[in-house]
Symmetry: C2
Subunit: 338 residues, 2 copies
Amino acid sequence: MPQQGRRRHVSITDVAAEAGVSITTVSHVLSGQRPVSAATTAKVRKVIAELGYEPNQLARGLRLQRTNTVALVVPDITNPFYPLIARGLQNMLGPAGVQVLVTSTDADPSVEDAAVQQMITRRVDGLAFAGYQADHRRVAAAAEVGIPVVLLGGLTPRPGIDVVSSDDVAGGEIAAKYLISRGYQRIAFITGVERVGSPANRVAGYRKALRDAGRPFSPSLVVREEISRDGGARAMARLLALRQAPDAVLCTNDVVAIGALDGAKARGLKVPGNVAVMGFDDIEFASLLTPALTTVSIRPLEQGEAVGRLLLERLDGSAPRQAQRILFDPAVVARESA
Amino acid sequence: MPQQGRRRHVSITDVAAEAGVSITTVSHVLSGQRPVSAATTAKVRKVIAELGYEPNQLARGLRLQRTNTVALVVPDITNPFYPLIARGLQNMLGPAGVQVLVTSTDADPSVEDAAVQQMITRRVDGLAFAGYQADHRRVAAAAEVGIPVVLLGGLTPRPGIDVVSSDDVAGGEIAAKYLISRGYQRIAFITGVERVGSPANRVAGYRKALRDAGRPFSPSLVVREEISRDGGARAMARLLALRQAPDAVLCTNDVVAIGALDGAKARGLKVPGNVAVMGFDDIEFASLLTPALTTVSIRPLEQGEAVGRLLLERLDGSAPRQAQRILFDPAVVARESA
């Protein structure tokens, strides 16, 4: 049967591109639930009319026409924490015939937005999103076109956006309490440059523990750096160069902690003899380091499985209507480095 | 503009599903270049006529209508080797605005086939495929619909299928030669269960090195196990239970080598004092183990970048017509474990 002259399906992405705005802006114009300038609204409505875009058709298509794929957006695929999340998702979704597509963003908000927009265009059946600054704005566009979304990170759920996370404030608190109980006096924290999301919540927990123990908080002991092994090494170098250097260093994740170990080694210092180092995540390799890394387990594999279970429930309609939150309790894993 | 009554685009996947055959079989019927039974051919042609499928339209669409996504299919996303391949791909493709979608298959051929078929349906602009048994058959369906394909693994290129790999035979050979030069007498090899692909080629190189050194080859010293940390531990247990146990063990990758270290530790043996262990890949964590892992570097990041470069050249038409092969020389990285 000839298909000549058949018009290509017009998507929300086409509207956004033609109007020169983001998909999120188009969604806002359509939903009317968030403010958009009159000029932008007029431009978007004009493009919608010209292209013959039908918003409801897209949402219907998403529900009726399964692609059997789910997207996982992560900040850094080379951090072994995220492959474990992917593994957990796949444990749940694989047997249901759903493929997991992973994409890595370097935690760059513009790359994150582009990744989510791509996934909307590709009509994934579900979206799991992890960023250092887990932010509803990053996934709002997907939720608004009806794609079930799970946000990995420490935030409250919103309509259409479920949340799976560890309790990051509690994690920072138990880690700092553990170091205090071990007798460390000047406890530093290597964190990311942004002041939101999991890293910031862990710092908040650390400050709470210091406060509860009657310890002073010293801003110079909180170092903000790129979240990477190199970033950890640079931050450690800065801390060790302080006139009053720390005797223990909490790191926002295990990869950063490995960098901190590099930094201590570069100065000829012994861990934990001269300075203690403690991480977060409990990646598989944490136990294989020398010294074996003391860290906080937040059970990535189980978090990934929880995400997969939530998405399956959203897809088969068995989930409750309201957005869900699944919280994993963090636990100190005592080893040799602190 | 109403779009009611618009027929959904008929894809090769629809034809395959309706006819109850694989996409590859449909491609073969269309291309006529490989034998398909008369009954199957008749069934596929009937479905093509009924659904009004237009094969050329698909190939044309793939070229004209870029999705700006490239797929990377890997056997195990939790093996840090593959995230480095992904990182390398992204280093090249990210700046060109192309997103990398990673999917993990557990090296199960049926999952691999399903992943490739999904990627064809999703109209990726390019496909990079890594499996323990890199096999042209796994990617033939993508190549036949005109998607540029790069196979990671030790095989020869074919029309439409470029190859990026390390020289695995040479890798096995230099690894075994290194152990022989260090004075080890009974050198074992822990490999995968399949007798094709990179693992098999490494074993072939190991046998060549033994032969060149006038050493006997003992089949009982080649253990075939699942390619994983647990598999490495099980294989090591079997080797150490032999009446004549090995004094050195080559492992098909570093993750398996970590399992072999587990196995030695479980028997209370010192590495390398009681038994030497050597891996392949040189993942980042190899240098952080105790003892630091002696291994063979095959430069995953650079391999990933080479894959990305090849795909970009295919996409912008600057690549030569014939299929390319880029071969990375392996190199022994001498550390403590052997």
